[in-house]
Symmetry: C2
Subunit: 220 residues, 2 copies
């Protein structure tokens, strides 16, 4: 089976993406980047989900806290008042450019030509590096960036799906959603806050899909 | 003065690039990435050169050793037998894609629109991510990648210069070359080996420019 690198946070979207890469016939290599997220629960979830799907997981350390600029890496409060127009403070500057760059390097060492990323242009909180134009531009860059030469394909299978469609697809592929973690601001036991943007999008996805939500929520 | 991010290793090329950014009228912010290089002398040199030029230096940690694939980050011997055709083992998979990605994130937090990178397509050891097509593709990516939106300009002022032309230009701009470090495999005191590709290109640059070579070489 051909190898593929799957960018993987342990959240709902990237876990679904990992299952899709398997379904597409690839031997997926999950890649997580510990980039200074404020809590470790995401990567614990990544380990659990990768083990459940029988996929190797590589973790790369990158300290993005030193450049700052985001509520996910700085001591800026995560907003809890619901979704607003505009790009939220949880945006991490150039995050997906950096993550895809590391994925490209890993793909080159594995002799892989395929990279999966679970970005979503519909229910996506307004992040610019989740749009089709961004993915296409990265693919063009990848094809002139490496010694291997490519051609590389950047798969973004969720990009035009709603959160409910993602949940339905992943449920069909037996994604262990109860093991995944999406919350930006969990409690000390790793339970989801239920109020940040990520929790709101996730909960609405299960609700609209008519799938029971297995997320452990905090009682705060 | 407008800010600019300058990717900066403490070597000959990026030190020249830093001086060019100043000359171009920017307030440069030097950015070094400790990506698992085998020795720390590069970043010590970066600190010395930035201080000498009066420029702030940010260092970001990224552990690329975990993905491997290069003599610069793995326990693979650095070749000493001279320059050959083809891409050498010192190539780091997707390195400049990753470095420019981090530079883009830093530029966004600084509200900078300009990024400098000291790549060189002439005396460049055959690295694919030093070519004009790569820089142009990254600039296109940057313009769809961030919340700030751009337009971003990726400056590669050395890209079509020979090493001798770089040395002449930098000498005119008073780059403190004796403080810079280029060697892939220095001795325990940080002195250059004089035999790796990087040393050979650097020494030939000084020789062809008719500029005395201030590099401290090991006596091995």
């Amino acid at each position: 089976m051909r190898p593929a690198v799957v960018l993987f946070s342990g959240g709902l979207d990237s876990s679904t993406c990992l299952a899709i890469a398997k379904q597409d016939g690839f031997a997926p290599h999950a890649l997580s980047v510990r980039y200074g997220q404020r809590h470790a629960f995401e990567l614990e979830a990544a380990g659990r989900v990768a083990a459940a799907l029988g996929v190797p997981l590589k973790i790369v350390e990158l300290d993005l806290r030193s450049i700052g600029g985001s509520a996910l890496t700085d001591d800026i409060a995560v907003p809890k008042e619901g979704l607003f127009a505009g790009i939220p403070v949880t945006y991490v500057p150039a995050r997906n450019t950096i993550l895809l760059g590391i994925a490209l390097g890993y793909a080159e060492t594995l002799k892989a030509r395929d990279i999966y990323i679970g970005v979503n242009a519909i229910d996506y909180s307004g992040y610019p590096d989740c749009r089709p134009a961004f993915i296409e531009a990265f693919e063009k860059l990848a094809n002139v960036a490496t010694a291997a030469g490519g051609p590389y394909e950047v798969h973004a299978p969720l990009i035009r799906l709603s959160k409910a469609e993602i949940v339905k697809l992943g449920t069909r592929l037996h994604v262990p959603y109860r093991l995944t973690h999406s919350c930006y601001d969990p409690d000390a036991e790793g339970r989801a806050c239920g109020r940040c943007d990520s929790c709101r999008l996730r909960a609405a996805g299960f609700r609209d899909a008519g799938v029971p939500d297995p997320t452990p929520y905090s009682s705060r």
